[in-house]
Symmetry: C2
Subunit: 154 residues, 2 copies
């Protein structure tokens, strides 16, 4: 996978969370994922298909962080992962992938996005199955962590 | 979503499990999903992008069933959802979607598949976010249940 693919996704998440929830996430160092370390409580997943490559993206949130994002956006905190939260995670997944798609399109990397799927379950693990390098980008906040994972076929 | 989309996925899963694991799943009646009823322990998800539509598919297994499938295929049962199991679920997801893609392509419905992602976590719930009808197809067996869910944008 081209390392140019990393920053557009990273910056897109920071931008979306800042704009929607007026919240600053602290990005950690992106690294190559060698095992299924990232655990979280709710994840948005989306497939990407382009002429040069195809792959998958996931954005995983710990419950405390996504509840705080909802609180900041709407002034209400459901206290658990409900349908409003899964819809929000689907929306964030679409916006982050769309933002990265625009930046990458300008650089000549085109892809189409499938529609997002959201998984809710405390402490679930994500395993991208494309036959290529898997990159994980950690983000921290006082309310919990988030992780973007992307994987494109060689 | 066109109802012609249902049977190719249903038959493809029956065919894959029968061929790989010499096991017969009993298909229940496909229905329109109105809430997040399907729960499972390991799910394969894949995005689909075509000129007419785009969408997402998930195949969710209860732990007992996927362990029995592994047992039938390889003669060994890891007793829990490990990396071999998640790889197997990714493989099944690819094969089922690829089988349905071939059938639907002959009928003039073309789409490209993204790469699969597997989620492992006891009792997780899946929520397809495309703005279209969500179809759930239940399958039962003496070892547990499985569910295919597909959703295509209008």
């Amino acid at each position: 996978m081209n390392v140019n693919f990393i920053n557009p996704f990273l910056e897109s998440l920071l931008n979306v969370i800042s704009t929607m929830a007026n919240m600053k996430l602290n990005p950690g160092k992106p690294k190559i994922k060698t095992d299924n370390l990232a655990k979280g409580d709710v994840s948005g997943l989306i497939g990407m298909v382009g002429p040069q490559t195809k792959g998958s993206l996931s954005i995983t949130f710990e419950q405390g962080l996504i509840l705080e994002i909802m609180q900041n956006m709407l002034g209400e905190n459901p206290g658990e992962i409900n349908d409003e939260i899964t819809d929000l995670v689907g929306e964030i997944t679409n916006m982050v992938t769309g933002g990265a798609k625009n930046i990458l399109g300008e650089k000549g990397y085109d892809f189409e996005m499938a529609t997002p799927v959201v998984v809710a379950g405390l402490g679930h693990r994500i395993s991208h199955q494309a036959d290529g390098m898997k990159i994980i980008m950690p983000f921290t906040s006082p309310h919990g962590s988030a992780y973007i994972e992307i994987c494109f076929e060689k």
